[in-house]
């Protein structure tokens, strides 16, 4: 889910100093998207962290006498073409998806947030150039951009992360810039400028703390998008290289065996859906919370 999409649905959060009250937890619990999303995303995170405890088998161990079997007591979701346990692959797949997704979001933030900060705070010609650059990048659909970058760089886990990170960056830069523009004109920043504080000091001390919550919200929602794009890339054959189990690749490879055993594709598809929906809802819930706190 992109920020633009979410902003169009729920309106952009208005700027305002966060108000922390005792009833915050109650509001969190009443926030249905946040609760549902948090649970689903939590499920994905738990699968990733506890994979060795949850998975009945090592995801890479193959059973040559049990290839492409349907669900049985030994293999709850059946096996794939090499006789590997589908359930275990689904569970370990969470590790790949979340690791790739969070690394990509982190990369997007490390580049995109400073980009937006500088552009928004310094303004002028630099701002114009930086934002046109973001526009050019935003013209490209993220899937196509990731596809092209990944094709250029060759196949490795790192390259997939870079490709995804690049697609996230310009959007983050744009939103950060918009936020900075709103804060820059406020009293405490004007005061800081007046007292002669250095630009970097103002950015770090005054502005970053005030947009931190928004960044966290954007990052959560961005996770969903990154996981989805990784799965799409893997589906097209440009994703995480084997043998690491990846949901997108399971879906693609399972597609060939739909009539023999649909469980490989379907279970991986459901796993992707849960993770994406979880992070999307959690991001939306957090955005609403922020919106209310700020207004």
């Amino acid at each position: 889910m992109s920020d633009v999409r979410a902003a169009a649905v729920y309106g952009r959060p208005a700027a305002g100093r966060p108000r922390r009250t005792a009833s915050r937890w109650r509001r969190v619990l009443r926030n249905r998207p946040l609760v549902v999303g948090g649970c689903l995303a939590g499920l994905a995170v738990a699968m990733a962290l506890l994979a060795p405890l949850l998975a009945p088998y090592d995801p890479l161990t193959y059973h040559p006498d049990h290839t492409l079997e349907g669900p049985s007591r030994a293999f709850l979701l059946g096996t794939d073409n090499l006789g590997r346990d589908t359930l275990s692959q689904d569970i370990y797949g969470a590790r790949i998806s979340l690791a790739v997704g969070s690394a990509a979001v982190l990369l997007g933030m490390v580049v995109g947030v400073p980009w937006g900060l500088v552009s928004g705070f310094l303004g002028g010609r630099l701002d114009y150039v930086l934002m046109r650059l973001a526009d050019v990048a935003l013209v490209f659909p993220s899937l196509v951009l990731a596809l092209v970058i990944r094709a250029f760089l060759g196949s490795s886990l790192l390259n997939v992360i870079v490709a995804l990170g690049v697609t996230i960056t310009p959007g983050l830069a744009r939103v950060t810039r918009g936020e900075v523009l709103g804060i820059r004109s406020r009293d405490f920043v004007v005061a800081a400028v007046a007292t002669g504080a250095s630009t970097s000091r103002i950015l770090v001390r005054q502005i970053v703390p005030n947009i931190l919550d928004l960044i966290v919200v954007l990052g959560t929602a961005g996770m969903g998008g990154a996981i989805l794009t990784e799965a799409s890339l893997s589906f097209l054959g440009f994703g995480t290289p084997p043998p690491a189990p990846s949901w997108g690749r399971m879906l693609r490879e399972g597609y060939a065996y739909l009539l023999i055993t649909p469980w490989i594709s379907l279970s991986a598809g459901v796993a992707i859906f849960i993770a994406v929906l979880g992070f999307y809802l959690a991001g939306e819930g957090a955005r609403r919370l922020l919106h209310r706190e700020r207004s």
Binding site: P141, A151, G224
Partner: protein, 314 residues
């Protein structure tokens, strides 16, 4: 107005040049040599060298780009390295398919969103609202390749009502064409049904509370008329603005949809030409995509004026 359009169109040119130059450089630096690919693994080095020279691939990069640009400006995008078909023809053939797919998907999404979004807004808080919202969020977050695979599994493999893939020309075989496009259209549109419905719902809800609607009601205009004449017209503006943003993403969805359903569209052409190192085709598709997105955004901006008389163009 005319001046505005011309200005916007002119602004597209530097952006297109910038993007194509970037892609040109990246493609040549990273993707490696297409010639060995063209000749196959039994080709010897001399033949490779000769063909490379024939195709002008042994010239410096900037010369190749300038050459490409000057031809492109005259509408000549060169020939595909793999098929030796003029690129314009290859793209044209496929543009028909992608065009039909995206137009059908968007029309479906808009029609469904008008019904679902309005219904959810008018009965806000009801079971209808809840069901629609749930459906829409699922639609937005379901990966479209999963949707496509499930549709194939259900309608093509199990029930055998519809074909699992392929394409028939729209004008030569209209019925077969619609049968073949049914599943891809649903696959591509589902996310937009969900998304546009949500957008429409929130803007209709806002519009229903607006003073002019209260005034209209007070004047005794029927609820239906209020809805269609006043509320919907104003609520379409945010829908339009997100449409502009979404065009690029729509193409990303088309890449996946065309791959699943074996449709010969531009999306698959892009993937195939990346795989086959077909430089002129990659270049042309990227240029076309850039141009398309920018033009659609312009059209969206112009449509604002039609929907909202307060908007003026400078």
């Amino acid at each position: 107005m005319a001046r505005y359009i011309v200005q916007r169109l002119l602004a597209i040119i530097p952006m297109a040049v910038l993007l194509t130059a970037a892609v040109f450089a990246l493609v040549h630096v990273f993707l490696g040599d297409p010639v060995v690919l063209m000749l196959g693994r039994e080709a010897d080095p001399e033949t490779v060298q000769r063909l490379r020279h024939e195709l002008g691939l042994d010239r410096p990069l900037y010369v190749q780009y300038a050459d490409w640009l000057s031809h492109a400006a005259r509408g000549d995008l060169g020939r595909s390295l793999r098929d030796r078909v003029p690129v314009t023809r290859a793209v044209e053939e496929r543009l028909v398919v992608t065009g039909e797919l995206t137009v059908l998907a968007m029309a479906t999404a808009l029609a469904a969103a008008l019904v679902l979004g309005t219904a959810a807004a008018v009965r806000a808080g009801s079971a209808v609202d809840f069901a629609v919202s749930g459906f829409c969020i699922a639609g937005v977050t379901l990966p479209n390749f999963l949707v496509g695979i499930m549709l194939i599994f259900l309608f093509a493999l199990t029930l055998r009502w519809l074909p699992s893939g392929g394409y028939a020309p729209l004008f030569a075989q209209p019925l077969e064409n619609l049968r073949l496009m049914a599943l891809p259209t649903v696959t591509l549109s589902l996310a937009y049904v969900g998304f546009l419905s949500l957008v429409l719902k929130s803007s209709v809800k806002a519009a229903l509370r607006a003073p002019y609607v209260q005034t209209g009601r007070a004047k005794g205009i029927t609820e239906r008329r209020v809805l269609v004449r006043h509320v919907l017209r104003n609520s379409l503006i945010p829908v339009l603005s997100v449409l502009g943003v979404e065009v690029g993403r729509l193409f990303g969805g088309a890449v996946i949809t065309e791959t699943i359903f074996a449709l010969p569209g531009v999306g698959r052409l892009l993937v195939d030409s990346i795989l086959g190192r077909d430089f002129p085709v990659i270049q042309a598709v990227v240029a076309l995509l850039t141009f398309g997105v920018l033009v659609v955004n312009l059209c969206v901006d112009l449509a604002y004026g039609w929907l909202d008389p307060r908007v003026t163009y400078r």
